[in-house]
């Protein structure tokens, strides 16, 4: 892995992207022993969910904690996709939820029906964030699978750990599939 790896998760408030970012950061920082910084941007005051969550992962010290040019962009919504695509590195990885994103600005994107996978795997669309996370980690290997599983267990709301692990697994599975395809 390169020195500094920049990940952006973007979508609408309430899609759980802060949680996904936090889990990713925790996986990197606590379970993989790297450094990580996770930030987010909020809607009006603190009430709404974030519209984006960013994670920088590095072996070294992390200075600037925000994305400069993303290595990966995961978007669960059209608006976010339109807005942030141009801040993706040329060779960066774009993952979109094809359920919500119709117009994809590049052909080199992973178009995955994330919400649908979530519904299939757990019966709950709300786990799309974790499916996305599994997908992202599976595709990039930015953290180890063990680490992200441990982080999910630690940070998922009480009682939903199994559910979320299932979602995560679904993501990983899909990633394997795609990698084979690609």
């Amino acid at each position: 892995m390169q020195e500094r790896y920049e990940i952006r998760l973007a979508g609408e408030g309430g899609q759980g992207l802060i949680l996904a970012g936090l889990i990713l950061a925790e996986a990197a920082a606590i379970y993989d022993g790297k450094n990580a910084a996770q930030t987010q941007s909020y809607g009006p005051e603190a009430r709404g969910g974030a519209s984006k969550s960013e994670v920088i992962i590095s072996e070294g010290e992390i200075d600037y904690p925000k994305v400069i040019k993303a290595d990966v962009l995961l978007t669960l919504g059209q608006e976010a996709c339109d807005k942030y695509f141009h801040e993706l590195k040329k060779d960066g990885i774009l993952i979109v939820d094809s359920v919500n994103v119709e117009r994809v600005p590049t052909t080199r994107a992973y178009k995955v029906p994330i919400t649908k996978l979530a519904e299939e795997a757990t019966g709950r669309r709300i786990t799309a964030n974790i499916v996305g996370l599994g997908l992202l980690v599976g595709l990039t290997g930015v953290v180890s699978r063990k680490a992200v599983e441990a982080a999910v267990k630690a940070r998922a709301p009480k009682g939903t750990e199994e559910l979320n692990l299932k979602a995560l697994a679904a993501g990983f599975e899909k990633a394997e599939e795609l990698k084979k395809e690609g």
Binding site: E26, A29, I30, Q38, T39, Y42, A46, P65, I68
Partner: protein, 373 residues
């Protein structure tokens, strides 16, 4: 030593607990609410007390009251609430009551940009209340530093009997980073200087023994008077010049004498640097990134990180100004601490890099200033 992924706000709360804080009064406000929420949960666990007051004025008042009762006490707010607290911050300075006030800066003025970062309250933290008064202001640039500076804020506050302001910003408050929480034994905690002289001999503002007279809590058998009026050594109001002037002198002197430890600065690569970036808070992060980029391009550039904003690190900046040809001061405001840098280093040496629109300064913006001829 526990390793955790934490937000700055949580680190602040944990730092407070570690420093011995046992009372918090506050009023919710973005982006400082996380501190209150963490302490609402944590304080009663350690036998401390949390109260949500009716507003920020009452919050700082309750904090001072609790401190008079002997508790290490803190409040946390953001710009609008910080403005409301100013009158009573002056009271704490005047009556020399230790307490810690956290201001998590957000975009201003007014309600401004409640969820966006800013460093717009730097001058306010020094000059926000009426009348001259001593103050200490610390500003962390990482989650880990937030933990340590919170402990330090309490230590200075208790040691110097003065309000201390921890000036955070939205980035540091909400960012999650790895923190290595030291175990309790490893944390140096300063306790208030008390006394056991007979009550009749006790003068809460007596300068005979020390610039920081011992402070006894209410209820401990030393019945004395506290006021926001100018007062004599016993704490009673006075209009006598021969009582006012010694007080004024002492209360500033007590901080001046401590400057050696109070002023915390970290210099990186400043030796021989032609250009030095002076930064604090979250902007340190952009600045260090930029400095490293510039070094990659073979610029001789150093970084001065100010952990203490006030009192201002005059000597360090003077020193730097002696050798560096240019000093760059990036800030998330329209140039506040830059005024002091200009005053000390000379105006023509200083280049400001500012933005106040709710976004962080990017490394690129600072790099551009470094590269400018």
């Amino acid at each position: 030593m526990a390793v955790k992924l934490m937000q700055g706000n949580e680190a602040c709360a944990e730092g407070a607990i570690a420093a011995g804080c046992r009372f918090f009064a506050g009023y919710p406000i973005t982006p400082a609410t996380g501190i209150a929420e963490a302490l609402a949960r944590r304080l009663p666990q350690v036998g401390g007390k949390f109260i949500q007051m009716e507003d920020e004025i009452a919050s700082i008042a309750a904090v001072i009251g609790a401190s008079v009762g002997g508790a290490k006490a803190m409040t946390a707010t953001s710009g609008p609430g910080f403005s409301l607290m100013q009158e009573n911050i002056g009271y704490a300075a005047m009556a020399e009551i230790p307490c810690v006030i956290v201001d998590v800066q957000r975009g201003g003025p007014s309600t401004g940009l409640p969820t966006a970062p800013s460093q717009g309250d730097v001058m306010q933290s020094r000059w926000g209340t009426h009348g001259d008064h001593p103050i200490i202001v610390l500003s962390p640039s990482s989650v880990a530093e937030t933990f340590h500076l919170t402990v330090q804020a309490f230590n200075f506050s208790e040691k110097y009997r003065t309000p201390v302001i921890l000036l955070m910003d939205e980035v540091i408050a909400h960012m999650r980073e790895k923190v290595e929480l030291p175990s309790a034994e490893m944390i140096e905690v300063t306790e208030r200087i008390s006394t056991d002289v007979p009550a009749e001999w006790y003068f809460p503002y007596d300068e005979a023994a020390s610039d920081v007279p011992p402070m006894v809590s209410f209820g401990e058998g030393y019945r004395y008077h506290i006021t926001g009026l100018m007062h004599d050594r016993a704490g009673f109001p006075t209009l006598r010049l021969d009582e006012i002037n010694p007080w004024l002198t002492r209360v500033f002197r007590k901080i001046e004498r401590g400057l050696g430890e109070i002023i915390m600065v970290e210099e990186e690569w400043t030796k021989g640097a032609r250009t030095v970036v002076v930064a604090y808070g979250c902007t340190v992060r952009s600045a260090r990134h930029a400095v490293r980029m510039a070094q990659g391009k073979r610029y001789k550039v150093g970084l001065v990180k100010l952990l203490t904003l006030w009192p201002f690190a005059e000597e360090v900046i003077e020193q730097v100004a002696r050798t560096a040809r240019r000093i760059i001061v990036p800030e998330l405001n329209r140039g506040q601490l830059a005024l002091e840098v200009e005053r000390v280093a000379g105006r023509n040496k200083v280049r400001r890099v500012n933005r106040a629109d709710g976004e962080m300064l990017t490394p690129q913006q600072i790099l551009a200033a470094i590269e400018e001829k």
